[in-house]
Amino acid sequence: MRFRFTESAIDTAAARRELLDRGAGGYVSFEGWVRDHNEGQEVTRLEYEAFQALGLQEGNRILTEAVERFPIKHAACIHRVGSLDLSDMAVWVGVSSAHRGEAFDACRFIIDEVKHRVPIWKKEHYRSGDSGWVNCERCAAEPRQIHGLGHHHEPLEPLVLPGSE
């Protein structure tokens, strides 16, 4: 069970092997990809930046919570940092468990919490030549759009973040 950052392409085959368990009857994974559009803008590439020391702690806390909350075997998450092109994988989450239901649930929980809580920032570069930090620049103009970083455990509403997934 491990959260980590990487500056190179995520090796899902190697990551998946770490989840193998003879008691596991299945494995669910989620991949977040760089999308070519966001809110009417044509996206050409992304940059991810992380406060890694705190991000590792918070990411591992989320994985620990997932294991406590769902009867799963193993969980892991890898997040890219640096410059990414369209269709590159930005994030990978994997969960193995005895039965599929909790693996799906835990996988969903982990990606939602990671998006809310881990200090990672995303800068979009647009076809127009413009660029912007997602959730920050528009946020500054409209403070109403508050991000969800923090230790909240209310029901997770689907969070639609632009740029990937």
Partner: protein, 286 residues
Amino acid sequence: MSSGGAPVYGLVLAGGASSRMHRDKAALLYQGKTQLDRAFDLASGHVDRVFVSVRASQAGEPTRSEKPLIVDLAGLSETPGPIVGIRSAMAAYPDVAWLVVACDLPFLSDAALEQLLKERDPCVLATAFRSAHDGLPEPLCAIWEPAAAAALAAYQSGGGHCPRKFLRRYPASLIEPHDRRALDNVNTPEEYTVAQAELEPHVGAKPMQLQIQYFALMREQAGRSAETLETSAATPADLFAELTARYGFTLSREQLKVAVNTEFSDWSRKLIPGDAVVFIPPVAGG
């Protein structure tokens, strides 16, 4: 407040030489007020009249001159000191007891004076606190009864001048202070610095070095990813205000989280030298 006995006046001793402090202790400032004013005002809350005890040479000093003074009488003793001040007060008002308070007790409290007056024993020569440090009487936060005048004169004519030794030799009532801190005295510049910082943590805060890291939009706006900063900001909230003034951050504090030493933190946490502070803009992983 006292249970019988002579009425009590207050006497703030401000005649000391302050030799170890290298400055007049009566004029030291705490929370913007001189220690003399603090002691005088504190005593005034408990007794009807308060005087300031000074040597003749100090009577015109601005720190002291506006207060009702009792000037040391000439000829009482060759050795100046607190006993001369107390005897001079007793000579001026022979029928009252004196709540004597030194001028170097910045933590002296209403509770301590209240206890002293409540537990006063007017049948002995003095009621004093027993020091929490060494078990000895504290003569300079004590009530001295009128009957002590003659004994003090006899003690001084025998060459004595230490009020603590006097209280050990003559009948006195020693009480245990509830507020032990109240009797901590301040004699050196180092002790003053510590006491001042405790009494006014913000004004007393000295500039310190902090490590700041910037990410994403804030890194771009600060024009750097990290810096070591000399600041007197006491909390992350103060620090953010200071840095916003410098770099013009567009995000407001309400939109941010803050981490200190790689843990999420309150905005009101008290920062200490060497702390590593990171402001965390709205996140967007995934």
